[in-house]
């Protein structure tokens, strides 16, 4: 359909050249007759088409619209396949239109080689005018023709075509169950066009959990706030998958075979906050898991090994490491898949959020249902349109040098301030944690409330600093309102990642000090992470309470403004990402942490929803929901998941596990358990040396990561070049369309003048 970017053979330009024969103004007679012929042909076709429809409409389907004859020239060129070229829901017209489209799709299933492209950019009109063929076809015949064409397409094309046909559902069902053509075949042969894609949204499987709550939120606050809750739902699914893997392969089995030495401390309520005490030596943490093969017949009676068939021994260390690895791998695959899908949906070559037509036609959120929210939305759109107009007006007058310098200085200062606050926070946390470490002499079993101090400080910083950054942004006053959100996200993200990095470094470097006495540094780290998660939840609750409920009361009662606080989407999503990073960091040390995270997210959903409904109003800034979704998933993948994966790999590869507890006691590194298992396997069965060979040369080879990253970089470069090429083609095609529009105008004017001259002569 798209003409190749060949030579633009414009009649307008050709008219100026004295050498071209056919279209020069001297040969006006030929010009006139050829146009006249084309117009006659087209109008006769239209009349024939109308007659057919009059026959079809004997059942009284649609009213005859006479405007169809008014645009014969518009149908002539450029040859656009407008499915609405015949108005109303006249089935015959739509079916024949889609027959043409399907026939072309089938004929053009492969690209013609470049050498065979004709020189003229505008291909012959008669190639496209397939409607001349079924001149006397009835609706039934047209339907069977369409069915035949659809049958000859591939299944995916077929279902796609069926979905995009703008016919009513009854027609689509009829199309699917039509007898195969020609009718002389056995009448029982039915052409069923593939599996029925679910066309109705009313099937029960689409409902899903929280369907009504999400509908309510979308109806009141629109798609932007809804994106936060959908993100929360995605995180719940990720955590459930991790939890299930760990549950089935690690936790349940250890629970079935509890280790011998277990001295539980009495349960006090404080454990839920601190994670220590009763929970220390329980399924929650690393220290509980045994380093032996469970259910092995030799373990119970070390002297005599019964020769009878063993009851399924289970190698716990291997299972532990593999389950954690597999859950990370599955999470990685799911994340990359959802990131690429969301990127594919949201990225458009050459689009900008400041396009006025896009704002007019796509800004209205049809999900919004409540009267007050609809009113707010109208006001928002009005403001945005005014802002866009003002911006376009001011774009013409540029700033003076002084103003630009002033703006740059302000921007630099703001960034300097934010980065120095991040550094300050990091130093403060470092010193505080050193202090706490020295104060509680016996780590991990010291006074339990003191253990909460560090998480408190970190969560407090995480909660207070974003408000500071908001104030900074208000002082800074970005040019484009969209940039404000991105800058805020950047700053908050830098703060959180720096603090987490510092904490990880401290955990790993401090394990040396904690050796000796029955203490498990892994359990300590697990407990720390549990406390951080709990504190994060507590602070989120406090933030919701103070930031939304109390602020709304203050606004209403004290300041007497009839305005509710806005729901800060970016900040809330970053908090979710932070919580998820904590979970991923702690999975190795506390296998039940994903379950805790699931509980936390479920509670958060209901609390946030209630607070939203009672205290907040929808955001007034323009918000591109799909774009931000991509950004959130990317942030989840790149700093968050990647950081956790690096931490995990480093711990498995190079950190020595503790001597006295956990599944990897006494080993040099956790990874050694895998290697020893490989060696045991090799010894027991010499036939599978390929396994150890593959392991040695592929996994342990340092060149493999370099090779993989080289391949990835090559793929990225290739995609960038493809994108560049597409942008160029879009530019060329746009020019071509503009040219053709001007050609059309020129030719119509020429026609008019020729007719006038002819009229004057006669």
């Amino acid at each position: 359909m798209a003409p190749g970017p060949g030579a633009c053979h414009s009649p307008r330009r050709a008219g100026l050249c004295p050498h071209s024969e056919e279209l020069s103004p001297d040969n006006e007679g030929a010009l006139h007759t050829s146009f006249h012929q084309l117009i006659q042909e087209q109008s006769s076709l239209m009349e024939a088409g109308l007659e057919l429809e009059m026959q079809d409409r004997g059942r009284g389907n649609a009213t005859v619209r006479t405007q169809e004859l008014s645009c014969p020239l518009a149908v002539l060129w450029p040859p656009t396949l407008c499915p609405l070229s015949l108005a109303g829901r006249s089935r015959g017209a739509i079916i024949s239109q889609y027959y043409n489209r399907t026939a072309q799709l089938r004929r053009r299933s492969s690209r013609p080689p470049l050498q065979q492209l004709c020189r003229a950019a505008r291909p012959s009109l008669r190639l496209y005018d397939l409607e001349t063929d079924p001149a006397t076809a009835t609706l039934q015949d047209k339907r069977s023709l369409l069915v035949n064409e659809l049958l000859s397409l591939s299944p995916s094309h077929r279902s796609h075509m069926l979905l995009t046909v703008p016919l009513c559902l009854a027609e689509k069902r009829a199309l699917r169950y039509v007898r195969s053509y020609p009718p002389h075949r056995a009448p029982t042969a039915r052409a069923v066009l593939g599996p029925t894609p679910s066309l109705t949204p009313l099937s029960a499987g689409q409902a899903g959990p929280w369907h009504y709550a999400l509908k309510q939120i979308g109806g009141r606050f629109g798609s932007s706030v809804l994106s936060y809750f959908l993100f929360l739902k995605t995180l719940v699914y990720f955590n459930i998958i991790s939890f299930l893997i760990l549950l089935v392969f690690v936790v349940a089995l250890q629970a079935a075979y509890p280790p011998a030495s277990a001295n539980p401390q009495p349960f006090t309520g404080l454990e839920l906050l601190t994670g220590a005490g009763y929970f220390t030596y329980s399924l929650l943490y690393y220290g509980y898991y045994s380093n032996t093969t469970l259910n092995s017949p030799c373990a119970s009676s070390p002297g005599t090994c019964p020769i009878a068939a063993p009851r399924l021994p289970y190698n716990m260390p291997l299972a532990y490491m593999s389950s954690v690895g597999v859950s990370f791998l599955i999470t990685c695959v799911l994340l990359v898949y959802s990131m690429s899908r969301s990127f594919g949906e949201s990225y458009r070559v050459g689009s900008s959020s400041r396009d006025l037509p896009v704002k007019v036609f796509c800004a209205w959120d049809f999900k919004v249902v409540q009267r007050r929210s609809v009113k707010l939305q109208c006001e928002n759109i009005c403001t945005q349109l005014k802002e866009l107009l003002a911006e376009q007006r001011s774009r013409s007058c540029s700033r003076s040098l002084c103003q630009r310098l002033g703006r740059t200085v302000v921007l630099l200062l703001a960034w300097l301030l934010s980065l120095s606050t991040v550094l300050g926070c990091a130093v403060a946390v470092h010193h505080f944690s050193q202090h706490m470490h020295m104060v509680s002499a016996a780590p991990c079993s010291g006074q339990e409330t003191l253990l909460l101090a560090l998480p408190l400080v970190v969560s407090g910083l995480n909660a207070v600093m974003p408000h500071l950054y908001n104030l900074l942004a208000a002082w800074e006053r970005q040019d484009y309102p969209g940039a404000q959100v991105y800058v805020a996200i950047c700053r908050n993200l830098i703060l959180k990642m720096v603090l987490l990095g510092l904490l990880c470094y401290q955990w790993l470097s401090r394990r040396v000090v904690l050796q000796g006495a029955p203490s498990c540094w892994e359990t300590c780290v697990g407990q720390d992470l549990y406390r951080f998660m709990v504190m994060d939840f507590v602070f989120t609750l406090l933030d919701t309470l103070l930031g939304e409920l109390v602020w709304r009361l203050v606004l209403e009662k004290r300041l007497k403004r009839n305005q509710k606080p806005e729901f800060d989407i970016a900040r809330n999503v970053l908090e979710l990402i932070y919580g998820q990073t904590l979970t991923w960091l702690g999975v190795l040390f506390a296998p039940l942490l994903p379950a805790v995270q699931v509980l936390k997210l479920l509670l958060l959903f209901y609390i946030k929803k209630t607070s939203l409904v009672h205290n907040c109003q929808s955001p007034s800034k323009p918000w591109q929901a799909s774009h931000m979704n991509t950004v959130f998933i990317t942030l989840l993948c790149f700093p968050s998941f990647l950081g956790a994966a690096v931490f995990l790999l480093y711990t498995i590869w190079s950190v020595q596990p503790s001597e006295t507890c956990g599944p990897f006691q006494g080993l040099e590194t956790i990874y050694k358990s895998w290697q020893t298992w490989g060696q045991v396997l090799e010894k027991s069965n010499p036939n599978i040396t390929w396994f150890t060979w593959a392991h040695q040369h592929l996994v342990e080879n340092p060149f493999l990561p370099f090779f993989v990253s080289g391949v990835l970089l090559a793929g990225i470069y290739f995609n960038i070049q493809v994108l560049r090429g597409q942008r160029r083609i879009i530019h060329l095609l746009k020019e071509q369309i503009a040219n053709e529009g001007e050609d059309k105008v020129f030719l119509i004017q020429k026609l008019h003048s020729v007719y006038e001259q002819k009229g004057r002569r006669t």
Binding site: A170, P201, G350, D365, F366, A625, I737
Partner: protein, 151 residues
């Protein structure tokens, strides 16, 4: 919505149509400024009465699962107020008035209409055909999520 008009038994395919007034009072559509146009675009007779199939059609196009092309076709129909298969300046003015509840001044409306036609019209005929509309929609990744009604 109309339990006395609509029969429970649809096996004999009864020809029951609900008038527009009933449908635009649905909670999902009540506050939508384009509700009359939406219902008119899906009705067979162009007056706004929907049979059951039309009703299901309407919500299936407005659902999450409908493909982009189908949504673009019907969005074009909805915004084409005078049903001449082109979105001309008067259609744009009506759309803007409905979107902003007539808060924009006449001068601003004219300016916006001119700018929209200038930016979106590719072939220079002064109004937006379906190809121009579809091209513009393809640049808006949000279209799929905003042109969506949950039921």
């Amino acid at each position: 919505m109309a339990p006395n008009v609509v029969p429970m038994d649809y096996t004999k395919d009864p020809d029951v149509k609900l008038p527009m007034q009933l449908i635009i009072n649905m909670p999902e559509l009540k506050e939508n400024p384009f509700k009359e146009r939406i219902v008119e675009s899906f009705s067979e007779d162009g007056e706004g009465s929907l049979s059951f199939n039309d009703f299901v059609d309407m919500f299936s196009v407005l659902s999450e699962m409908a493909p982009r092309e189908l949504k673009a076709i019907y969005a074009f129909k909805i915004y084409d107020f005078n049903t001449d298969n082109f979105i001309c300046k008067s259609d744009l003015e009506k759309t803007l008035n409905k979107l902003t509840r007539e808060e924009l001044t006449a001068e601003e409306i004219t300016l916006v209409c001119e700018k929209v036609i200038e930016e979106a019209d590719m072939d220079g005929d002064g109004k937006l055909g379906f190809a121009d509309f579809e091209n513009m929609i393809s640049k808006a990744p949000d279209f799929l999520s905003t042109f969506h009604i949950r039921i």
